[in-house]
Symmetry: C2
């Protein structure tokens, strides 16, 4: 039997357990060209919150009763494709469920001998590629630049900061607990990390970036970003990767207008999605793998066990409770 | 005798006449390398408002008692430079005064046989160059793009819209009177113009740009910009040239946060100053001159007479009372 989490109600503000519903069904039958994937790890990511709303975004929103969106890594247990064999490991967008069928052309084959398969959802998957292209392409970093990254210990932020160090930048992270800030400094070698829950972000940015912020890689938005952007250098570059502080608001977010700040600093702010760089994924994966093998990039996984835990774990992520790339394993 | 307007008090909100003071003095004596310029036209521009504040910007702010900043075009009536002769016409940043001395290396020589010297402060000067580089470089327009420009009948906006038409774009202007909107449609051949004082900008943008706004050239900021940016297309480009709606606020401007909008549209917002393109001014002037001669770019001047009128005229500009490039003539 299959088990799947569906969207039961549209959340208003933070999602509730009752917004989700676990349903059982037969394992699906395959059509020509499809494969059946048994999920080993499900990736939980902030973008999923957006899909639960009935508003315009870059992909259509979920309908009530739809299976929750998500990418998994798992084993192909049945195939009607010549490209993918039974026993192959793949990443696949089958959503929050134990088994899912999917067109073989849309899965990515993984070599499990290269490392833990879970990394294909993290440092060697979408979060890693988001960090790689979002930082190197969108932010155009130069050696010596002062780089600020929010959600600094997260799946994307942790990699951004480490790539920035590889590039010869000075890195200031922002995170939400002393455990996270210590990790960024002692394990990831960031120059400074600010605990936004206990420290004044504005004052600390002024202290740590006396010449101004050259690059801001923003995962959170809101007041934290206002503080960072009040101290930009001339020619600063801001990448908007995520705005997690705003995803669960019931009203449109209001804040300090940014136009004059961009104007006087001749600064640029760019929103991006990793899919823009699809044609260059292999370049990113090759480089990230090399850095991981060389020990230049470390990663941290936060693995929760059990399909029944998915909604709770997802809600916790929205409140910053995870520490590292958040995965749920079903087997 | 010379006459000069100085900063008498820092304004809070809209400037008042009493924030300025007209002083008389001897015509200044020249040092080696300097020229004495007799002002024929003074350019009044929104950026001057920023110089009156005591806050961080891209140039130091004026001190109380300083001569108000500004560029003039006029005649050299005395010279201690071999590069510039008596009788030459030049543009020079001598500020709000009848006569000013300035280093000869910082003036630009004008050929009065090519057209009215006043154009060197407008279409063939800083506003024209701002439109040229701000639109073509910062906005990367493509034929067929839907372009929105605010302050559409202004010194910069009117040229942006006409360059956009030359580039094969669809142009939607936003202006503040029926006289201005009619001018943009009938004289400048914009496709649509919205009167933001009498029409709902949001609804009109939806109507005129059904596929979304590809390029927004923003001179005003505030609510008008919020409406335009609520209807961006994927990959939209926003140039921040000015934010006149915010220059006279007594409190920092608050508004809808733009991060999520940029993110879901993979859009970019860039603040720029014309000085960034200094090394390419000649390219811009050559092209603009060619378009003016070919009748592809029209321009409109709003000329006020008398040095005593300068502060009043400047305050009026902040309220959108001028119609075309605003100049004050002293002779």
């Amino acid at each position: 039997m299959n088990q799947s989490w569906i969207l039961n109600k549209r959340p208003s503000g933070y999602p509730q357990i009752s917004d989700f519903k676990l349903i059982s069904s037969d394992v699906p039958k395959l059509q020509e060209g499809e494969v059946l994937v048994e999920s080993h790890y499900l990736s939980l990511d902030p973008y999923m919150r957006g899909r639960m709303n009935d508003t315009k975004s870059y992909v259509p929103s979920l309908k009530l009763g739809d299976i929750m969106t998500g990418e998994v890594v798992g084993k192909v247990i049945s195939t009607k494709s010549r490209r993918i064999n039974e026993g192959d490991f793949v990443t696949a967008h089958i959503g929050w469920q134990k088994y899912g069928k999917i067109d073989a052309s849309s899965v990515r084959k993984i070599d499990p001998s290269l490392g833990p398969i879970s990394t294909s959802l993290g440092v060697l998957g979408m979060p890693g590629l988001t960090a790689y292209f979002g930082f190197l392409d969108v932010c155009s970093p130069m050696p010596g630049d002062t780089v600020v990254v929010s959600a600094a210990s997260g799946a994307v932020g942790g990699i951004v900061g480490q790539i920035a160090k590889i590039m010869g930048c000075k890195v200031i992270g922002i995170a939400g607990s002393d455990q996270k800030t210590s990790y960024c400094v002692s394990e990831l070698n960031f120059d400074h990390v600010i605990n936004y829950k206990t420290e004044n972000v504005l004052n600390k940015i002024n202290e740590y970036a006396p010449g101004g912020v050259d690059v801001y890689f923003d995962n959170v938005g809101g007041d934290i970003s206002d503080s960072v952007m009040s101290h930009l250098s001339v020619g600063a570059r801001i990448a908007i990767c995520g705005q997690i502080s705003l995803y669960n608001l019931e009203e449109p977010a209001m804040g300090a207008r940014i136009g004059s700040t961009l104007l006087i600093n001749q600064a640029v702010m760019r929103g991006f999605l990793v899919f823009q760089f699809k044609s260059r994924y292999q370049e990113g994966l090759d480089k990230l793998s090399e850095w991981v093998l060389d020990g230049k990039i470390k990663y941290k996984e936060d693995i929760v066990k059990g399909i029944d835990k998915v909604p709770d774990t997802f809600i916790g992520m929205m409140q910053g409770k995870n520490f590292g790339k958040l995965l749920v394993t079903f087997i």
